[in-house]
Homo-oligomer: 271 residues x 4
């Protein structure tokens, strides 16, 4: 029951631009991120709208919406069989739903640059449309009054704290993604990935529990961008960089930690 590290993905793989599965994966990213923003931003609006948070699903309910949607969408979109062939399958059919996850997997050479960029574009488009539908349902006045689920740094926190919270939060998420889809783990026990979407979704839930009071929790640049585009006020744009720089740094740190410390890939011959 030995395992073989899949070869690193090439930077550019011209063949994939001609395959139906490439575009299908992009469509799947679009639809998943659309549904993610739709459900989560609608939940945020329902809570913000409620005069007493007690008669809404509450802040904890918002955390469940974000984490639960990632659980369900990774389950549906990534395909569990595909998670088992990580580096090929998961990447092939989508299911990242988050540019930071795509970036982390790209750094680990799990997908080509072409594919990574295509996924990120589709995720951002899906997020904008998802937030747009929420605005359509709620009406513009109410959407603006309750800030449309945009990520904004709370008063009482420095920009450094906000950036730090995004970095560590994304580290938790991307580290979980790497752990749950590790090829070595899968080779030794082919049944492990069954649970993979569950800890990934839980990681998102937990980071929301901790950092909603600080930034509303981004850890997903597409989610932050989609809400900002539809809300479109200075207050959302001023801090937008935090929700791109933070997640990308966090994802890179998680990739480094997993590849160098846990997997010890650079030291393999000595391992």
């Amino acid at each position: 029951k030995d395992y073989k590290e899949p070869p690193p993905a090439p930077l550019f793989e011209p063949g994939e631009l001609k395959s139906w599965s490439f575009y299908r994966a992009g469509i799947a990213e679009f639809v998943a991120t659309f549904l993610f923003l739709y459900i989560t931003i609608l939940t945020v609006m329902g809570v913000n709208r409620s005069p007493s948070k007690c008669s809404s699903v509450g802040i904890q309910g918002i955390a469940w919406a974000f984490g639960g949607m990632i659980f369900a969408l990774v389950y549906c979109t990534a395909g569990i069989s595909d998670l088992m062939k990580f580096g090929l399958g998961w990447v092939g059919t989508g299911g990242h739903i988050n540019p930071a996850v795509t970036f982390g997997l790209f750094l680990a050479r799990k997908l080509s640059l072409t594919r990574a960029v295509f996924y990120m574009v589709m995720q951002c488009l899906g997020a904008i449309c998802g937030a747009g539908v929420v605005k359509g349902f709620e009406g513009g006045a109410r959407y603006e009054m309750y800030k449309g689920g945009a990520n904004i740094l709370s008063s009482g926190y420095t920009k450094g704290s906000g950036l730090g919270a995004e970095i560590v939060g994304t580290f938790v998420l991307v580290y979980t993604v790497f752990s749950a889809t590790d090829a070595k783990r899968n080779a030794r026990d082919s049944h492990v990935p069954i649970l993979a979407p569950l800890p990934i979704g839980f990681a998102v839930f937990l980071v929301h529990l901790a950092t909603i009071p600080i930034t509303g929790t981004g850890i997903n640049p597409a989610r932050s961008l989609g809400a900002a585009v539809i809300f479109n006020k200075d207050v959302a744009w001023d801090d937008q960089w935090i929700f791109w720089v933070g997640p990308f740094i966090g994802a890179a740190l998680a990739a480094v930690y997993h590849q160098i410390v846990i997997r010890a890939i650079p030291f393999k011959t000595r391992a």
Copy 2:
């Protein structure tokens, strides 16, 4: 480990009317939908009755009741082994608990028209009885005062928003059902369906988190009908069409998305 698409179910399969398993499946649909309405409407009543929502399980608790019951009942009624033989087994023993799910699976030709209609009738009867028992326990006066868990469009939302919320919400549910029971996925990894009831239940939970403030969340025409029949006031009947038209459109869209985009069935020879 190849897989074979099961053949589409015939519209009418006269043989099944003579089999015990056909009627047993109908009874199982009745009982499951009965228990579903009983637990969920009783939870709604407990929350509505509580002067402060804080001393009840809260709106989030309502969402857990709906999603959790679907998890437990799909687990119990559908049979997990049967989920593995989707198109035969799951359909054969019931476990839809929702006319919109039955409709989506019928469109994908997973069960005959006879069976689909029989299931829907049993689901509606079970739902009416379940809501009726809640009214019996609570007493008529209190049941009416707290609106008996009926789906009613909240003030501040247009009929279009309500219909849209039902369409997208049912899309999330039925898309999860299709993903979790996909024959291709099952063929490649026979252990996948173990978790199937969990994402299906979670999908129901998540849609409730998002849309309870808009419509109370239907995404299940039997649930909406059962509560309306027992509550039986104009306010519940006026919007009832939303809770049939919306879910059926959402289920149809999910079937189309799954069959055409994800499975690419029409393009198979080229795939």
Copy 3:
């Protein structure tokens, strides 16, 4: 991959009185029911003590405590491998934690009368000790003021409603137990029982969401007895019969429904 119905357990099996595994199973029932009451009653006390339910884990937290403990304890005590050999293994190592579950399994002839009675006694003793430790930690005055987690019919509900709520609630639980441990299901797919403790725990959670406002939710005579013995006021004893008669009727109905409708055991030769 055929399956064989295990033979019905004899009413009296003299040999088991001499086996260490018989007494170990009894000790395991005692410890599990002790821990169950300890955690759940302590949670109830914490919520009742809190002047605003908002600064406690809330009623929903109570429901999680009951359901979650059953999940964890069934996982730990029953043994998952043993669930797979239902009728022998599960019974052999305990993990019922509830006289109504033991009664339902006895009716289905999954364990001997001797063993069933021994389990019930150990469950009741464990429950009394668990509630007693909570009283010790809280102190007698506070324990009495907050009613010690005793099951009491709420004002505004008839005894008939309370009894009905206990019957249907226990039906949901015991039906889930039967479904999750079905020998036929296990024979067809040996991996199914992995999830068994999860739907069983969820069933307990869901019934609590629905019926805490009515009776505080029993569906477990040992739990009701343990709290009543330690609380020891008339108000807890007056309704105690509801929490024995209701669960036993509900368990019997679930056994009948599962054996006759779902498994069709009486009609087997014709099946």
Copy 4:
């Protein structure tokens, strides 16, 4: 499908001090305990900061943060394949995240004394750093005002009650760890450990539901120490011994119960 009890670990295994996997396991303990404190203490701060608990994730949200992080981190760090080779694998790659768990496993001779001490030191260092980052993000004044998530005995409880709550709470956790990773169980059904992180995380969640009102819930000396070091007020140091003595007694009782009653190891020749 027989199983063989792995031989007890030696007290000192000089060879492991030269292996990369020994130090990697220590780093993994550090990182996991760092993330554990970071997420959980930040969640506690968010709740304490909120004027009305209703507009925070609430006490229940705190319990989810503690339990959920243990679920995700045991999943990520322990490795599920490794759980299957308990006594070798799990120990080898870390994933205890708790000195009481390490102590319980050491008593059962699952790891050497050298390794046990190294793990505990790394856990405590990780916990201190995790709490320190939270203080950095929140600022010193706010961190002190809201008590930095330190474990403090609530007024109205005796030291004996606090100690007892820590003992029984840790018993629940460590008993679940032993049950979920039992070699006998794994030998009989190789698929069982898939769910292991879930009941372990749930055990932590449940103990928090019950004992947050008493002590804030320790059951993890590294967590209690880390918060106390960064908070650094007398009130946190005065009761610190409770959060070391209690968990170690509870872990020892769980080890004894599992080895002697459930596994009957001392009576094996007679079993």
